[in-house]
Structures are given as C-alpha cells and as structure tokens.
Symmetry: C2
Subunit: 137 residues, 2 copies
C-alpha cells in the first residue's frame, strides 16, 4: 500500500477516499526512485554491505551471487548517484576502492526488510501457486 501524499488540510475536509497525490512532479520523482531501488541487484548489494560493512569491488562481486561485473558496476554507480553507497578511493599504491552504505542506504535496507520477510514467509504459497499454474498449462 502506498502512502498518499496528501495535504493534511484537504485530508481533514474530505469525507471520501483520500486523493492519492497533489503534486504530479513529486509523484513522478517518487516513481522514478521506486523504479531504481525496486531492483533485485540493488536489494542484494544493500544486503551484502549491511552484513559485511565496507567491501572492495571484487569482494562484492564474490559475495553477491550471480551478479556479472558489468551489472555490479552499473548497480554501484547508480547507488552512488542516489546517495545510497559511498565510494572511497584510497591513495595507496596500487590505489584501491571500496564501498559502504550511507545512512540513506541503510534506511532503504530497513524499508526492504518487509519484502524479505514477506518472501520468507510466503515461499510455500508461491511454490504451490507455480505448480498449479504449470498444471493448468
């Protein structure tokens, strides 16, 4: 369920259902953000950094199972752009780069928590649904 972006005064006046949003530009931005963060790889990178703290690129690649180097590069760049991860270049020889969650990234990890719990709670139901769908042809 999505929270309505409602003006509290209008909400008070209204007797019917609360209108969903009053700012199309804000709605578009929120949908754009959802479009970027509601992504399997983003969720898995956040989970991995939550569990392991700061990691180098190669360590991330080994821990996020199934991710290609190209996809990891894209995912990390987008996450850095949105302020979810902090990329640090250490000026040593040879230089090394590592990644950690920002407070914003950690807060997204908490928001995702409900989706992980849902998947873990309902996997049997989903498995049954898939078997029924297959049987139906």
């Amino acid at each position: 369920m999505r929270r309505a972006l409602a003006d509290p005064d209008i909400e008070k006046r209204s007797e019917g259902p609360v209108p969903e949003t009053f700012d199309p530009a804000l709605e578009k931005l929120v949908e754009d953000i959802i479009g970027k963060v509601a992504d399997k790889w983003t969720m898995l990178v956040i989970e991995t950094l939550e569990e392991n703290g700061t990691l180098r690129f190669t360590q991330l690649g080994k821990t996020v199972s199934g991710i290609s180097q190209k996809m990891l590069t894209q995912t990390l760049r987008r996450m850095e752009e949105d302020g979810l991860v902090r990329r640090t270049v250490h000026p040593v020889i040879p230089p090394h780069v590592d990644y950690a969650l920002t407070p914003l990234g950690r807060s997204l990890g908490k928001a995702f928590c409900g989706v992980w719990i849902w998947a873990e709670k309902h996997h049997d139901e989903i498995r049954r649904a898939r078997a029924m769908f297959k049987a139906k042809g």
Copy 2:
C-alpha cells in the same frame, strides 16, 4: 535488513552473530522470489489494483503510467504464475478478462509499503545526492 532463516535452537546456542541461513535451496528460492517481485512494474501493478480493485487489461494499461502492452502482459503473467493476481475470463460475447489481487498479492502490497514511504520521505535527500554526483563530474 534481511531476517535470518535461523534454527531457533542454534540461535540460542550461538553467542556470536546469527548465521544467515541453513538451507541453501530455500535461500535460493527466496532470492528468486525477491528477484521477481522487486520490480518496478510489479510494484506499480500492485498499487493500481489495490486502489482500483478489479480491472481489465486495457484499464490497467491506462492507469499504470508508462507501461507498454508487452511489459504489462509479461508482468501480469508472472504475477499470475506466482499467485499474486487472479485472472478471470468472463464467458460473455465478446469474452472479457479481468485482473484482481489475491490475498497473497495484497500482503506483498503491504510489505512494499515501507519502500514507498521510504521514497516519499527521502526524495529530497536523493535529489541532493544526484545534484552533488553530477557536480563532481
């Protein structure tokens, strides 16, 4: 944060961090489910069906902004397969087909709620992060 799939007895015995999971097959299934549901279009279709109840394909296509007919077909089929939507064919002339959330689909909508709230709460922070990233070049 992901909930550990831990055996409660082992959890009790352990003094250190709780091991993440003990069943690789279950972990793989949960990751597969996350990979399918952590998807922008799935989230938007769930939101639309939550707000509007039962809808026909064409109504869904008009309400989920920006979705192509092909993507809507794929998304609905996958959601039906996983038991998130119920597809009903009405034997009238001409026949018509509509879609509604199942109880499982509604429960996923509730789990997603935290992600929508997160996006609406933090959009300013994300906007600032993007501007800074751009300025850095």
